[in-house]
Subunit: 187 residues, 2 copies
DNA sequence: TCAATAACTAAACGATTGTTTAGTTATTTT
DNA sequence: AAAATAACTAAACAATCGTTTAGTTATTGA
């Protein structure tokens, strides 16, 4: 055939993801992406079609990153304690490398909430829906709570998780620690 | 002297604020501001110097808007119950006019957290610090809690308030209602 | 070895960003 | 009424945005 690609798409997307994670979508330019991904615009466009395409692939890459702790949470059998562990592990990812860049999913959720980008928003919504279903399952595990309580607590935790991810960009570790402790005190 | 201004700066800033509130800073263009404020670029620049200047004035305008409920909270004498009322009134502002645009302060906090804009970030931080001081005062009111507990609960509520304001853009009223209910059950 | 083909470089694309400026209109004071 | 002055209109500014395209380089299969 012809010349081979001098880069692996998976690798350059990982780099793009890290940039989007730090800066958000709108504030990241193609110029920055060129530099960070180490390939030029032509290559970016021939591999991913558009800036939007790079972003969607970056979201996939991030999901792979969190998939480990998500699977572990899915397989946990210790109810509320499993949820708490999941929260702590999620926060650890947010603080990775000493950064405070939050969670890419939550950041994206916030940034795109007022846009018309139904594709990205759909990705976010499905993620939240999956999390809610999982929370309900874990809360039901010990069999002591009625359905109404379970639904309320699931909504509470869903919002807490999103708020926590967002807050991890600006709040101190102590504030976050205190928040988690009290959140799980009465469940 | 000479010709009079055909607009009131206070009025056009109110309109700019509503636009920033809806779209955020970066996604709002001068073209949009012209249209929304009803005056042209020259007038905007002669009155406020720059887009950044318009934004800072808009933040002031928003603070005036929330100042009422903030003062009421400051003067409340019923401890935790006063905090809860303050939370509900804050959420009502977020959902004003049937919109779901969150709280401009929290939105700005999120959008600017990774920028170098120390001016805007300073405004946000001082706002949060004031809130924290106030929360500590209200939590101390009944005199039953030790200092350590008070600090933890203040951190918890600070994060809850920010998370709530952020979540109000994307979560349903039911989810928010459930969140507040359980949040205050844990105190 | 050589035509075929895909990946590369680099420059330019039109559109839009925030900002400025030249020229016109309206109001004020003497 | 006329000179002075500030607010207005509208066009253009340079810079940057995401995207495309023409031309070159490297690798492939025949």
């Amino acid at each position: 055939m012809a010349r081979k690609k001098a880069y692996l798409e998976e690798e350059v997307i990982e780099k793009a993801m890290l940039l989007f994670w730090r800066k958000g979508y709108e504030s990241t330019s193609m110029q920055m992406l060129e530099q960070e991904m180490g390939i030029n615009k032509f290559s970016i466009y021939s591999s991913f079609g558009s800036k939007h395409g790079v972003f969607l692939e970056s979201l996939k890459s991030y999901k792979k990153k969190v998939n480990g702790i998500f699977e572990k949470f899915k397989n946990s059998t210790n109810g509320v304690e499993g949820i708490k562990e999941f929260f702590y592990e999620s926060i650890n990812i947010c603080h990775q490398d000493g950064n405070q860049k939050g969670c890419l999913i939550s950041n994206t959720y916030n940034e795109f909430s007022e846009t018309e980008d139904e594709l990205v928003k759909g990705e976010m919504t499905s993620f939240m829906d999956n999390l809610k279903t999982l929370l309900i399952a874990k809360l039901s595990m010990d069999g002591t709570k009625d359905e109404k309580t379970i639904m309320k607590q699931a909504n509470f935790l869903l919002l807490a998780k999103h708020g926590l991810a967002t807050a991890s960009r600006v709040n101190s570790p102590q504030e976050i620690e205190d928040y988690i402790e009290i959140t799980f005190k009465n469940l």
